[in-house]
Assembly symmetry: C2
Homo-oligomer: 387 residues x 2
């Protein structure tokens, strides 16, 4: 679905143009380390990925050795993908066509020994909220306990002993058939551990999501999995430092940010926000964006005075991972499906807290008090005026 005119990779643009010594300086300042620390990928897997038209890349984030703790090394796989068939096809066919391509990527991840997988936001459907049409799109909403996506993924979780995070459009039958934007966490036995609902909902550009669902009511849960303490900050929540903060306060070591965002709106923010969160909270962040341009059957406007059209903007992919010390991987492609594998030593989180001291110096008590005052309707800002 990707437009051929789209730049394929921000990272390659620079990597292909600088001399070796220049690139070292660029990498040191931009990525945080001179060397990307590639992890070798099985040759057969590289072939498999090529054959199935997705990229695969792998990087290492080691930690220092400790005397009293063993390394806690986890392999994380994040997946970005375009939709697979036209959006005017039947719902079940559209979903199945996505399942078919995701199956291959999960198999590739399993072959590389990946422990945790996270998919993109609303991964099993087109991002149809731009249309503001309730039908047929609401039919994609599914149970977080036994919907088609959960059923599909459970099998792989159990078979490969992986934790899988599945961000879906949730239909909550228990509470009046309400719809939510939800991430389901499935453990390594294929059991649903629980879910998190998106805390912050956009009202910008074509992101008419508040037409479909409310702000989440599940707080800031951290899932204590076999492979570490993980949390999910869904899409627009990445613009809110307090959302990131509370996952950190609750002990997260890896926070996933499954997203759907387009160029023209957010691309210059993409490398900043999740990365800042990793730094501020001394945890790993995994940023996942959709890829490709999605076209819808009926025309819609974008609240910008421009004529009606049928295409969403370009989802620019560029998924990447940041370590607690602020070092990051290059991004995946801007226009192709991809699997980004990172080998993370979770010991790094506490090591960076000890080194930089951000949790020690964060003065949460001061801010608890400040916010309590700030939310009062009659709050008086602390302003110093001319005498």
């Amino acid at each position: 679905m990707a437009k051929s005119v789209e730049l394929s990779s921000f990272d390659n643009l620079v990597a292909n143009s600088l001399t070796e010594s220049e690139l070292e300086e660029f990498n040191r300042i931009y990525y945080g380390r001179k060397d990307h620390r590639f992890v070798q990928i099985n040759k057969s897997n590289i072939e498999f990925a090529k054959h199935n038209n997705f990229d695969i890349a792998a990087y290492d984030f080691p930690a220092q050795k400790e005397e009293t703790r063993r390394p806690r090394i986890v392999k994380v796989g994040i997946i970005q993908h375009s939709i697979a068939i036209s959006t005017d096809k039947p719902i079940v066919e559209q979903r199945q066509s996505i399942f078919d391509k995701i199956r291959n990527i999960i198999i590739a991840a399993a072959n590389e020994g990946v422990n945790i997988i996270c998919l993109q936001e609303a991964w099993s459907m087109p991002f149809a909220f731009c249309t503001r049409e309730k039908q047929p799109w609401c039919e994609f909403a599914e149970s977080a306990i036994d919907g088609p996506s959960v059923q599909f993924l459970k099998e792989f979780s159990a078979k490969y002993g992986m934790v899988i995070i599945s961000p879906i459009l949730e239909r909550d039958k228990i509470h009046g058939d309400t719809i939510w934007n939800t991430a389901v966490v499935i453990n390594e036995f294929g059991e649903v551990m629980g879910k998190h609902r998106k805390n912050h909902i956009p009202r910008v550009g074509d992101f008419n999501e508040s037409t479909y669902y409310f702000e989440g009511n599940t707080g800031h849960p951290v899932f204590e999995t076999k492979f570490g303490k993980i949390a999910i900050n869904i899409c627009y929540g990445r613009h809110h430092p307090l959302n990131w903060l509370m996952f950190g306060v609750n002990g997260a070591e890896i926070v996933f940010n499954p997203s759907a965002t387009v160029s023209g709106l957010s691309e210059h923010l993409w490398s900043v926000e999740a990365r800042n969160a990793a730094i501020a909270n001394s945890y790993y962040t995994c940023s996942i964006n959709r890829v490709g341009t999605e076209k819808f059957p009926n025309e819609f406007t974008s609240g910008d005075g421009l004529p009606a059209h049928k295409e969403f903007g370009h989802f620019y992919g560029s998924s990447y991972v940041t370590a607690p010390d602020g070092c990051r991987t290059p991004g995946l492609s801007r226009n192709k499906d991809g699997l980004l594998i990172t080998q993370l030593d979770l010991n790094k989180c506490r090591q960076i807290k000890d080194k930089w001291g951000f949790t020690m110096t964060q003065r949460l008590d001061l801010y608890a008090e400040s916010l309590k005052k700030a939310v009062q309707p009659e709050y008086e800002c602390q302003v110093i005026k001319k005498k």
Copy 2:
């Protein structure tokens, strides 16, 4: 004082290596706009800067036209500089030598019609906290009301009708001769409006500042100046999203981040944190770093197991400005004094709040409640474990 081996500019590294169309894509994704929107600088001023060995650059951040508000255009000048003479010289001479170079840069700023100037952290002294020696360095501490720095700057404020922010080491005579890390705000009449004390103090690497002063006790004041509502987040406070947030809550339109930070420690974070704050809080941020390598009379260790030495690391300059929409200027040099001028339309802050809706969607009430619980000693993290 700068080492000649240091890369002179991250931004030029890329700008000089890409083709025109590649550079447009790089600029769009990295800086947030294809075109840097240079503002013309008077020829005589360019000559003056060259003659006095500092760089000068100017950029424009316009806003959309509105029907009911006029544009509120402010020219901001941020200054980065190295120390001027050896650190074994008498205190008064060291300070005077810095005054002498700053005088020229302020004159250049005035010639360009700058309205607000901000200097770097502890601008009138070497950043001697690495030594952990109390003498002679504590002698640089000065009154925030009528110390030498304030006296020096007041004259320019009044003469040129400028607001000047002066980050100094403060000696608080009223409260037991205590020392603070403080930014003094001087209004366009040469009067001290008030001050802000650094809220978060580092304990990392050579930044032994907690040996000299405590966490600030002045809250998060916003100064309502003739040229807009401004605030100061001093140095290490940039690692704390809540610190940035409270300046936003109190209505800041421009937040200055006068800093002193070295390569090897923070350079890959430098372009992330203040920029993230501008995005998250819909205000302008101005990031100012020292420049050059400072050498001290006696050797000191850095808590890293390495031998004692006399040099601090390299302060890498690279001062830059970010707009509320996340677009940013290129940075100043990594090794040379410089004046960065930006022409900001303050109307952009509210325009971006309307567009992106981050203040509307930030759910401060939720977080006020969450933090109140989180700071309790017996707080139980929200953790979901395996059944």
